[in-house]
Amino acid sequence: MRLREIPITAWIGIAGILLALFCAIFAPWIAPHGETEVVGEVWAPADGQFYFGLDNLGRDILSRLIYGARTTLFVALGATLISFSLGIVLSFTAAVSRGPIDTVLSRFNDLMMSIPTLIFALVVLAVLPQSIFILILVMAVLDSTRVYRLGRAVALDVAVMEFVEAAKLRGEGRVWIIFREILPNTLSPLLAEFGLRFAFAILFLSTLSFLGLGIQPPAADWGGMVKDNKDGIIFGISAALVPGGAIAALAICVNLVVDWLLKRTSSLKGGRGDA
């Protein structure tokens, strides 16, 4: 693949994601103030010193945005990675073994998907103790149902091909077939799906934090920052819109890259004439 073939929109997306990653990794060095440090008056407007103004407790919004990138990206990425591992292993196992294993897993998946994700998360989070790892796990398990559905569909297409048949006749085990035969041949639609799920995870985490059920204060997190500053809106203070805009911008960037990946996948499919 040549770099020149990547469309401009995808470049914008990649640049945005890299910027957020940069902020997340080097947060303590590039943030002008501390994550929870009170540096001035409550909801002080933006000026030369504080580019986005101060929040509801007088903390620097820019600094909290930079630290928040850390939490938001870490949790969203962690949840997406776990949900993918879980969803793909289960769906490929179902697609390869068929029979009762497939039926049980698929019916259970249908059941999980028949409850809206947000509602399910609310019900579960009402019982579970609040911690960041439980949050990641809940997000991952709920999201893995979507990965499972796609994974099973693409794996079923590949599992009936001759080379998989050949591997089975050769006496390869299930693990080999899943990871050496099927996975490499389904990588490109799954990659696009990964991006899509990642964008969804960012939005979902922000929504949960906004509702007060995600990341707990005082840790900075973009959704939580909107919640902290939402009361300022009535007085015309736009502090809540800055983190909201950051969430939107990051999600748009991820979607721009996904859009390109999807187009590439579909054109690949047409060109090769298999799949």
Binding site: I115, L128, A199, K230, I234, L241, I247, A251, I252
Partner: protein
């Protein structure tokens, strides 16, 4: 409905062949009912399997063992799980969801007040967004790969990336605070006139419309495109049918089912989107009620709301499937 509703055994197969439509619809109905029971089981029994004790949740952290034991007794937590589930389900069927732990009010009564508000909001948003989305989707197909289509594509891609609360606060910032043409918060009460009520929910409705519009439009576009690129549309064009005739006679009947599906799917999404929008606009609906209950871990309320949201969602999906079955010309005219 057809006679196949009350058949079993031997004649079932024959009737299924004669009335494939009714059989499919019946199948879908039964499936939804089973699903609903499974969901209620998951919400009630599944939660008990999770770590975290209801009694200590109820009392908070400062609970003595004796107090916990008393509460377990009082809430009936000492009875076997199955009998608790059955009694909960039995009461839930007639709209009795017990009393809230936090306020000691009847949960069913609260839900009765709030469910109507939520459905009103979601229904009004649907009324606006569905025609708009289908229209824009058709427009986008008409100008396929030309400038209007590209603009719609980029804008809708951006729109699906915006979190609901961000759209909500943007609207509040501009229309309620800067220009002062809309009201915030969106308070409604029983004695309100319809006009006042519509005015109060203008901004929440606009938010919901913006949230589902992009999704629905993109899916409509994809559905119509896949029909337009099928072989019979090419045949229609090659045999010299006018564009209008080929769309009305050949494309529309086949595109109807996928479009209905798209619409219903997004209506189901609307029901969930209501949760966040209600919190943003402080609107007295089900979503607000549920989120408040989750924060204070008020389990009877959480379970009741969870069940109702899931039921509405399952119901809408079922209606979508049934309408899609009915709208499918291949099933409607069996050979």
């Amino acid at each position: 409905m057809s006679p196949s509703t009350d058949t079993d055994g031997l004649s079932g197969r024959k009737l299924r062949e004669r009335f494939p439509l009714a059989a499919l619809i019946l199948e879908r109905l039964v499936l939804s009912i089973i699903l609903l029971f499974a969901v209620s089981l998951l919400i009630f029994v599944g939660l008990q399997a999770l770590p975290g004790d209801f009694a200590s949740t109820y009392l908070g952290q400062s609970a003595t063992p004796q107090a916990i034991a008393n509460i377990r007794d009082q809430l009936g937590l000492n009875q076997p799980l199955l009998s608790r589930y059955l009694s909960w389900l039995g009461h839930a069927m007639v709209g009795d969801f017990g009393t809230s732990w936090a306020s000691q009010n009847s949960v069913g009564e609260q839900i009765g007040l709030r469910l109507g508000n939520s459905l009103f909001l979601a229904g009004f948003a649907a009324l606006i967004s569905v025609p708009l989305a289908v229209g824009l989707g058709m427009l986008s197909v008409h100008f396929r790969n030309r400038l209007p289509d590209k603009i719609i594509n980029i804008v809708s891609l951006a729109a699906i990336s915006l979190p609901e609360f961000f759209i909500g606060y943007l609207l509040i910032m501009f229309f309620a605070v800067k220009f002062g043409v809309a009201t915030f918060p969106a308070t409604v009460y029983a004695e309100m006139s319809l006009y006042d009520r519509l005015q109060a929910i203008a901004l929440p409705t606009a938010t919901l419309v913006l949230v589902v519009l992009a999704h629905m439009m993109r899916m409509t576009r994809a559905a119509i495109l896949s029909v337009m690129s099928s072989a019979y549309m090419e045949t229609a064009e090659l045999k010299g049918l006018s564009a209008f005739r080929s769309i009305v006679r050949h494309a529309a009947p086949n595109a109807l089912a996928p479009i209905i599906n798209v619409v219903a799917l997004n209506l189901a999404y609307l029901v969930v989107g209501v949760v966040v929008v209600e919190v943003v606009f402080v609107y007295p609906g089900m979503g607000q009620y549920m989120v408040d209950a989750v924060t204070v871990r008020d389990m009877p309320v959480v379970q009741a709301c969870g069940l109702i949201f899931a039921a509405v969602y399952i119901l809408l999906n079922m209606v979508a499937d049934i309408l899609a079955i009915v709208a499918n010309p291949r099933l409607r005219h069996p050979r």
